[in-house]
Amino acid sequence: MEIFHHDLNINFLGMRKVSIAISAILLIVSVWAITVKGLNYGLDFTGGILLNVTYEKPVDVGDVRSALTRSGFDHAVVQSMGGTREISIRLQPPKETGAKQSPDEVAGAVSKRVMAALQASNSGAKLAKPPDFVGPEVGQELKTSGIYAAIVVIIGIMIYLWARFEKRFAFAAVASEIHDTVITVGIIALVQREFDMTVLASILAVIGYSINDKVVVFDRVRELFRVARKADTPQILNRAINNTLSRTIITSLFTAITMASLWLFGGPAVHGFAITMLIGILVGTLSSIFFASPMLLWLGVSKKDLMPVTRDNPELARRP
């Protein structure tokens, strides 16, 4: 069985002006979404208090929200937890001056006040379990360590590719890497999905996945350059993309299948992870085809950069 005929020869490089333009637009929109709209950070990162409240009778999220606003909790995030009787409330503790309290004490005090406010409007409200909370410092640290993780990973990959391939490949790979990561994060910011620990983990996994994809195409580019007698760069890049196209699509499909099953059956704990991965797989696959190779061309990769370094053999040189 074949998805694409093996003689397929689509001129991907010919579309590079269009494809790069689309990429640029997506990047701009993503950066706008991340900086202006901002990420909807979860409790892990913002710090704060998470309360799970159950009601005796079905309740409207809007009512809960207005009950909280009336009591002065303006910025609480109220979400339904699947059913209509369970809701989760995420909020930042109000900044109070006075005695220094530990996050533990603050959480206790705030949860009491919130419950009082909720019970005043609906006596059926009950705290389902002790509140979860994260101190602001811990959240901030996590954010920084997440960014560090991404940078360390990208630099490590760049060094490896530089050594195994050539510097242009390393730059092109890292450029596509950043492209994929920014767009994936951008989409999450755009739809305002909650950005928590598992989403961060999957963003980092997207980096690993997308590099995998690029390496396969680049490996073929290197091979074709080495065997080609006359090297017309766009032609070789095109052939490399077409030769690996089946593999690119099939692998993406296989990985997407597993992530879809995780999304459907894995439950809320890994929902964010699966969705982010699916977005990342889509973006990564498209950029392997439409973005990475134009980058190579633009960086001016050529046949002579890739010939295996033949060491001068003094023994040979001495011979007549």
Partner: protein
């Protein structure tokens, strides 16, 4: 013929068998149980077994089995609801003589356990329980050390009659101000000969006076910070044991945080009270006129003395008067005696404590002196619907040693094993130098949510696996089936390695497993596409297989190494969920490299290698 070295067949076979064996324990679900351990002189024996059985019968709690294994008793229950009821009944019935803890009893067959195969421990998100992150206030300890140097320097200068204007705290150390540079130089010489932990630097005040800065050396500060954390971890571990949680996780995280995870615990308030207990120390004189054994039996103790117990249950009678208390102790460290080379514990007191100790030891050489560790835990009870606050105090004698000579500021305790010396010094520190801790993060996972997560995770793994197996078989036919076999073994070997290494399974870990399944097939896709290409180019089937594997190898290697780098980044920089995910991914990529390439190659060679003439390949 395909040349495939024989040893590789053996390697593949061995990996298959080992993978199967070491992954197997995970199929045996652990059973909810209650673990009973004896305190002090109580015993775990058949009498206790009968008592437990009758108590449970009386309370109408059904149990599956009661067994005794290495000094502990395990009562197994059908489900967690009964387990919780049972533990409540037993806690009341057995009282303080035994520690009753929730536990998960393994159901793995003995022969599997014998070869060291065990199931992966489950993370809190799969098991339910509470998670705390505690921040340790290192500054409190630093300030105490600074104060100690300040006291020392002030009294030394007074003793040696060096005129000094002022001695005060500054930065990471102490600053002394002198009128003349001669005084300052003398002071530096005197202090420097005594305190090796300090760095000295000179300066001038705006008013023209001469200053001497004595800063605690950075390496000393670093060591201090590390001991503080270790000591807090030890203290927490002791307290959690008192709480009766089996298999708690208490671990340092980062520079100054400690993670505490208590599986099975749901009552955060109770847990917090126990973790937040305060401890102190008291040195008491031993009462030589009383036989402690006798006193313990009869309860007759002189009015100026009290009966205490050591940790192992040995009774000790100490005078009530306190010689020195914990806040007068400035340092305790374990080391070796310089003359005998035996392990010892070195204790340093501040000047007030030193004076009292000197007075006491002058009169009591040859007698014994005991150290009592006192822990106070706040307790909240509901009486008539109202919360009643009280506190529970536990007192343990850490050590009761003979006073060998007269001493004041510094003294050492010998006659201990190295382990005992370490424990004693840590306990002395926790009673005197404990750094205050704040809970900065808390999360509670209900037990049913944990069960739910396991089920969902399992379903996602199985469905993902089946779908990929089907897709591969349809798309690559025979080669797809070979890849399928390898993929199933990849899952088994991945689980086997995770179990053997002792990785804690969490929800992000399961996500990592599912992701690995999807990506592991990539190597086979690369190989199969290559083989197809070679066939199209007109190579013979056998040659196609050979070149297919050869040519695919370099790209598989590059792709996987870069991917491993990404996983490594996750492990080293991330914490918690990210780390768990990274570890799984790392192991998964490594095992898939073996199964997808070597294992499929071996199977392919077995299928096609024997046939001299191969016309068509099912790829």
């Amino acid at each position: 013929m395909i040349d495939f070295p024989r040893w590789k067949y053996w390697l593949v076979g061995l990996a298959m068998v080992l993978g199967l064996l070491y992954a197997a324990p995970n199929a045996f679900r652990p059973q909810p149980a209650v673990q009973i351990v004896a305190n002090r002189d109580a015993k775990v024996d058949t009498a206790l077994q009968k008592k437990v059985a009758t108590d449970l019968d009386k309370a109408n709690v059904s149990y599956d089995d009661i067994s005794i294994e290495n000094d502990r008793m395990l009562v197994r229950f059908a489900n967690t609801d009964v387990q919780l009821r049972g533990s409540d009944v037993l806690r009341v019935a057995l009282g303080d003589d035994y520690t009753v803890a929730l536990n998960l009893a393994t159901t793995v067959p003995a022969w599997l356990q014998k070869i060291g195969a065990h199931a992966m421990p489950l993370g809190l998100d799969l098991q339910g329980g509470v998670h705390f992150l505690m921040a340790v206030d290192q500054n409190a300890v630093l300030r105490k050390q600074q104060q100690r140097y300040l006291d020392d320097i002030r009294s030394t200068l007074r003793q040696k009659q060096v005129p000094v204007d002022s001695v005060s705290l500054s930065g990471d150390g102490v600053q002394a101000v002198f009128k003349t540079s001669d005084d300052r130089d003398r002071a530096a010489g005197i202090i420097g000969s005594d305190a090796t932990d300090l760095n000295f630097s000179y300066g001038r005040t705006p008013g023209g006076a001469y200053t001497l800065h004595a800063d605690i050396k950075p390496e000393v500060l670093q060591k201090l910070a590390q001991t503080t954390i270790t000591q807090n971890v030890t203290t927490l571990r002791n307290r959690v044991n008192a709480l009766g949680v089996s298999e708690p996780l208490i671990q340092q995280q980062g520079q100054n945080r400690i993670v505490v995870e208590l599986p099975g615990v749901q009552d955060t308030a109770e847990a917090k009270r126990v973790l937040g207990a305060t401890a102190t120390l008291e040195y008491h004189a031993d009462d030589p006129n009383v036989n402690p054994q006798e006193a313990a039996r009869t309860g007759n103790v002189p009015p100026d003395a009290r009966l205490y117990y050591m940790k192992d249950g040995t009774p000790v009678v100490l005078k009530k008067r306190v010689i020195v208390s914990g806040d007068e102790l400035v340092d305790a460290s374990s080391g070796y005696d310089q003359q005998t080379g035996m392990p010892n514990v070195n204790v340093t007191l501040n000047s007030a404590g030193a004076r009292k100790m000197l007075d006491f030891t002058t009169e009591n050489v040859g007698k014994r002196m005991g150290v009592v560790y006192i822990e106070t835990t706040p307790v909240v009870k509901i009486v008539d619907g109202k919360e009643v606050h009280s506190s529970k105090t536990t007192e343990t004698v850490l050590n009761n040693a003979v006073i060998q000579g007269v001493f004041g500021k510094k003294f050492q305790t010998t006659g201990l094993t190295q382990q005992e010396a370490q424990t004693l010094s840590l306990m002395l520190r926790s009673g005197s130098l404990a750094a205050p801790m704040d809970i900065v993060e808390q999360s509670v996972i209900g037990p049913s949510l944990g069960q739910d997560n396991i089920q969902k995770g399992e379903r996602a793994v199985i469905l993902g696996l089946v779908l990929v197996l089907l897709a591969a078989a349809i798309y690559y036919r025979l080669f797809g089936l070979v890849a399928d076999i390898a993929l199933v073994f990849n899952l088994l070997i991945l689980i086997a390695v995770m179990s053997a290494v002792g990785v804690t399974l969490t929800m992000p870990g399961i996500a990592g497993i599912v992701l690995t399944l999807g990506m592991a097939i990539d190597a086979n896709v690369l190989i199969c596409e290559r083989i197809r290409e070679e066939l199209r180019n007109g190579s013979t089937p056998l040659a196609s297989i050979r070149t297919g594997y050869e040519k695919a190898w370099s790209v598989i290697l590059d792709a996987n190494v870069t991917h491993l780098l990404a996983a490594l980044g996750l492990i080293t920089v991330g914490s918690g969920a990210i780390r768990g995910f990274g570890v799984t991914l790392f192991i998964g990529i490594s095992t898939s490299l073996f199964t997808s390439v070597t294992m499929t190659h071996a199977i392919t060679a077995l299928i096609h290698g024997r046939r001299k003439k191969l016309k068509t390949l099912w790829v």
